[in-house]
Structures are given as structure tokens and as C-alpha cells.
């Protein structure tokens, strides 16, 4: 049951309105993790970057610093 739920979460698209999954992919300085570290597909990485940038514009996530 738990496994299914976690799978569902992974399959969901990144969204600027849901910032908790995005925070996982920020470094300590607030930078977006490169793909060699985040280890997600190109498609998702692009999605992630867009979502983080939108969230940053709305001041939900920092541009730099914690």
C-alpha cells in the first residue's frame, strides 16, 4: 500500500504550487540540483526547473540562501 502511494507521488508532475517536492531538489544555497546528482529524467528535470523558477518568482522559494 505504501509503495503504491510513493509511486503515485513520483509520477505526479512538478508544480510550483506544491513546494515540498521541489525543496528536495534545491542545494543548500538554493540552487537547482544538476541532473547528474538529482538523477531524474531529462523531461522531469526540465519540468522541475520550470516549477522552481515559477515558485521563486512568487517568493515561495529563495533565489539564493536558505
Amino acid at each position: 500500500m505504501e509503495k503504491q502511494e510513493s509511486l503515485k507521488k513520483i509520477n505526479k508532475k512538478f508544480d510550483y504550487k506544491n513546494i515540498f517536492p521541489l525543496k528536495k531538489y534545491l542545494s543548500e544555497n538554493g540552487k537547482i540540483m544538476p541532473r547528474r546528482i538529482s538523477y531524474i529524467s531529462m523531461k522531469k528535470q526540465k519540468d522541475l526547473a520550470l516549477a522552481i523558477k515559477r515558485a521563486r518568482y512568487l517568493a515561495l522559494l529563495p533565489y539564493s540562501g536558505k
Binding site: D15, K17, A59, P62
Partner: protein, 108 residues
């Protein structure tokens, strides 16, 4: 007609009646421009990740709207003139995501 996700950020020092007035005003301009508000929710007063125009907090208002493509520019230029709105974001989407958004659930 196009579908837009719309987020408004309002100044922290507005009173609750001022806040209501501003949101009402915005809704009026949308309906003036032949737009239609499909869904609306308030994320409340949130801390900003960095200060914007000396604001450390802001009121967030989220809307799903349906408005003709050419009118969104007019609406946004009106928002630029309004001093109690510090920032806004309008994103064109193919279809609306499920509501309520995760942000509103977080506040509860």
C-alpha cells in the same frame, strides 16, 4: 477563450476589508473584460522567501480564470498600476489542475 492560472500577491499591511476590496476590484475588471472566474481560493498571509518592495509577508490569492487571449494583457497592465499588488503571475494552461491546490491544504 483561454484558460489561465492566476496568482496575485498583495501588500502585507492591508486590512482585511481593504484586501476584500482589492480582490473584488480585480474580479470586476475580469468580468469587464469578458472573463470568467472558474475557481478562487486564498492562500492567506505567507512569509516571503526574500523581501519584495520592503514586504516580508504577502497575501496570496489564487484563481483559475477563463478570459479571451487578447484581454489578458489589458488585465495585467491594470494590475501593474495597482500599488497594493506587489506581484502577479498568469500562466496559460491547456486544462486546469485539480483543486483545491496543495498550498491551501497546507494552511489548514
Amino acid at each position: 477563450m483561454a484558460l489561465f492560472e492566476h496568482v496575485l500577491m498583495l501588500r502585507q499591511d492591508l486590512s482585511s476589508s481593504d484586501l476584500k476590496l482589492q480582490v473584488k476590484k480585480h474580479q470586476d475588471t475580469i468580468s469587464e473584460l469578458k472573463g470568467n472566474i472558474v475557481y478562487k481560493e486564498s492562500w492567506g498571509l505567507r512569509n516571503l522567501a526574500y523581501p519584495i518592495k520592503n514586504n516580508r509577508k504577502a497575501f496570496y490569492e489564487f484563481m483559475n480564470i477563463e478570459i479571451p487571449n487578447e484581454n489578458i494583457e489589458i488585465m495585467n497592465s491594470k494590475l501593474n498600476l495597482n500599488e497594493s499588488i506587489i506581484r502577479y503571475l498568469s500562466i496559460k494552461v491547456k486544462k486546469f489542475e485539480e483543486t483545491p491546490t496543495p498550498m491551501s491544504r497546507e494552511n489548514e
